[in-house]
């Protein structure tokens, strides 16, 4: 009587064991890699807006400061989305009649705000305040990326909790002088080590890593 299992089953048995080990190690590893991938964090996905607004033109071309449109960023928890009336003064001379501008015209006539799409959004259980960050020397660029180079704005940061904590734990590595907060492509004039330490002292930046800092 021949053996119950033919010789080739030895190879299958070993291969399936190796496969099992690969699966046990590989699946969690793959999942951990996946949650960090831009697809999972929704980074770099351009968000189409009701109007083809190009930040490049406004920031680089016209040298408009972030705060001109995002007016409440230094005072309020939200940065502020410009109302239609912010666009109109400049554009009353140019473009107002163009087809691109149709939504703005409609908004103006109907007296209803433009429906801007949110690009960078945090979950409801996270408390976030723009004013405190800006006033403690966190640049817009640090979280929102090089908006001056984006035709259509996308989410630049992964927005994971670990990403938040990376700065909350070592703020000195990221802060910049308040005057430079809205600068794009900012480069520290002295080593960040020196500047960071000084600013942290000057602005009374604390290492806020308590759960209740953000989850209130």
């Amino acid at each position: 009587m021949p053996a119950l299992f033919p010789p080739w089953t030895n190879v299958v048995a070993r291969a399936s064991l190796i496969a099992a080990v690969v699966l046990v190690v590989g699946v969690p590893a793959a999942l951990m890699a996946w949650v960090r991938a831009p697809n999972a964090t929704r980074r770099y996905e351009p968000v189409a807006q009701p109007i083809a607004f190009d930040h490049r033109v406004h920031v680089v071309g016209e040298h408009i400061d972030c705060r001109y449109c995002h007016f409440s960023v230094e005072r309020s928890s939200t940065a502020g989305i410009p109302p239609t009336s912010t666009c109109v003064p400049c554009h009353s001379q140019t473009l107002l009649g163009s087809s691109t501008f149709a939504p703005v015209r409609r908004s103006m006539e109907a007296n209803t705000p433009l429906q801007w799409k949110r690009v960078t959004s945090l979950p409801g259980f996270v408390y976030f305040n723009h004013a405190i960050h800006v006033n403690k020397g966190v640049g817009c660029e640090s979280c929102h990326g090089r908006v001056d180079q984006m035709a259509t704005v996308y989410q630049a940061a992964p927005l994971t909790m670990g990403w938040c904590l990376s700065c909350h734990r070592y703020p000195a590595a990221f802060v910049r002088p308040r005057a430079e907060v809205t600068a794009m492509g900012y480069a520290p004039r002295q080593p960040q080590r020196v500047i960071g330490a000084r600013l942290v002292r000057e602005y009374h930046v604390r290492r806020l890593t308590n759960c209740t800092t953000c989850h209130r």
């Binding site: 119950l4 299992f5 030895n10 909790m161 670990g162 990403w163 990376s166």
Partner: protein, 470 residues
């Protein structure tokens, strides 16, 4: 009779000691007898299987309901944040202690009689752990985030807090489950090979052949096998002590009177083994009858385990006495109130007295030789002890919590139908898994029993002793 095959506990010397094995058993007949349940099933099995399947369905339903609606469907409410779920958790995990204790500790003591009962006890351990693990998971409220308790590089950038008992529990229970499973499987390999070689159909031969992994009983394999088996036993023994100690720390590292007590770790371990032995009896006695194992599981086994149970019961009683004394000695009002008033005379006094009587009085029966071998007494006493031990965990958890430091927040906990449903369902799942086990896995360690039978000269052959250099 060799020294290795003596029972754990000494027999009264003026009486004929019970044999650890009875009758003559040719190896082939013994193998076939012990493998027989794998090839056919009985109407009783189907009946029990049907019942336990219903229980499992009940569990499925109540768990789904809990997950869908949230744990608000349970009776827990502040200050009684822990109630049925944690009681069940501690109870089940305690039951899971006897298996590894019997198989690992007794192999270190060279007690060969363990071979007749260790498989059942180990299987019981694994299924009890499956049940135990369910409860803290459900209690998380969001069980799908259970992996947050494991230290892995999370995108959240935070880690479990290792100063809390919760990650200790995770470490202890997962380690215990894994090691129990490995130990169980390693012990099974030679028997699975026997099943492979005895199976009546080609399909069954193939299935058991896959799990037997090609075991062929070569001298080299046997020698290394014994080394690995003893190593695993040596590792499992301190592990078994650690697991319920860690579970006890869930309570004792808090500052709550009734929970905070330094004797908790050994006291919990003793109680765990106690309830586990009781569950072994509850499973083993019917199994002995159903599979005709009277020659293999003899009075020697029953008596030895009954004595072990008596010893555990006495140690438990010692803990009760010391705790009550110390609560008075502490001169601390809250301590005294918990132990001397709230428990014996509070709203859960009935449960307290049921616990005391069942846990302390029941085992005293086993001072009497006749009761140690009476299957009826053993079975009923074991049920009593299982109930008593469940009550003990309930008393520890609920009476410590329900009368909070502020009288204004006192709260009477009452379980809801979901609480009862999950408890009943978990018993169903346990039975379900155990019935599958006895139907598909050899429920006695065949090779060990054969070795014993050869050693006792009941095989007509002589065995020089165990192989290996361990």
């Amino acid at each position: 009779m060799s020294a290795a095959a003596r029972p754990l506990v000494e027999q009264p010397p003026d009486r004929e000691p019970w044999p650890v094995m009875r009758g003559e058993h040719p190896a082939a007949a013994l193998t076939d007898h012990l493998l027989a349940p794998l090839w056919r099933s009985s109407p009783t099995w189907w009946l029990l299987f049907g019942l336990s399947s219903l229980g499992t369905l009940l569990l499925l339903f109540t768990v789904t309901y809990t997950v869908a609606r949230g744990i608000g469907v349970w009776g827990n409410n502040i200050p009684v944040a822990w109630a049925f779920a944690i009681t069940n958790f501690v109870w089940w995990i305690g039951i899971g202690h006897a298996g590894t204790f019997i198989s690992a500790f007794l192999i270190l003591l060279n007690q060969r009689w363990r071979g007749s009962i260790n498989r059942v006890a180990e299987a019981m351990t694994i299924f009890a752990l499956v049940n135990a693990a369910l409860f803290p998971l459900l209690h998380l409220g969001r069980p799908w985030f259970f992996y947050w308790l494991i230290p892995y590089p999370a995108t959240m950038g935070v880690w479990p807090n290792f100063k809390s008992a919760l990650p200790w529990d995770v470490a202890a229970v997962t380690t215990y489950f894994t090691v129990s499973l490995l130990f169980w499987f390693l012990g099974l390999v030679p028997d699975l090979a026997s099943a492979r070689d005895r199976a009546p159909s080609r399909l069954k031969r193939l299935v058991y052949g896959v799990f037997a992994m090609g075991w062929r009983g070569s001298g080299f394999q046997w020698q290394r096998y014994r080394v690995a088996y003893v190593l695993l036993a040596a590792l499992a023994t301190p592990l078994v002590i650690s697991v319920h100690s860690v579970v006890s720390l869930d309570f004792s590292i808090a500052q709550l009177p009734g929970w905070h007590s330094t004797i908790f770790p050994p006291y919990f371990v003793v109680g765990a083994i106690y309830s586990g032995l009781a569950m072994v009896f509850v499973l083993l006695l019917p199994l002995r009858r159903a599979f005709g194992l009277y020659d293999i599981v003899t009075e020697a086994h029953l008596s030895a385990m009954a004595k072990l149970m008596l010893a555990m019961g006495l140690m438990l009683a010692y803990s009760y006495v010391v705790e009550i004394f110390m609560s008075w000695y502490s001169a601390d009002f809250a301590e005294q109130y918990t132990y001397l008033t709230a428990r014996p005379a509070g709203p859960y006094a009935i449960a307290y007295w049921i616990m005391t009587v069942l846990n302390v009085v029941t085992p005293q029966l086993f001072w009497v030789r006749r009761f140690r071998t009476s299957t009826r007494v053993l079975f009923l006493a074991s049920i009593g002890i299982l109930v008593g031990m469940w009550m003990e965990r309930f008393i520890i958890i609920v009476t410590s919590l329900n009368r909070d430091f502020l009288t204004s927040s006192w709260h009477i906990y009452m379980p809801t139908w979901v609480d009862w449903g999950i408890l009943a369902g978990s018993l169903g799942l346990f039975g379900f898994l155990f019935l599958l086990f006895v139907r598909f896995v050899p429920s006695v360690a065949i090779s060990e029993v054969k070795e014993l039978s050869i050693e006792l000269g009941r095989d007509g052959a002589e065995l020089a002793g165990a192989a290996g250099d361990a």
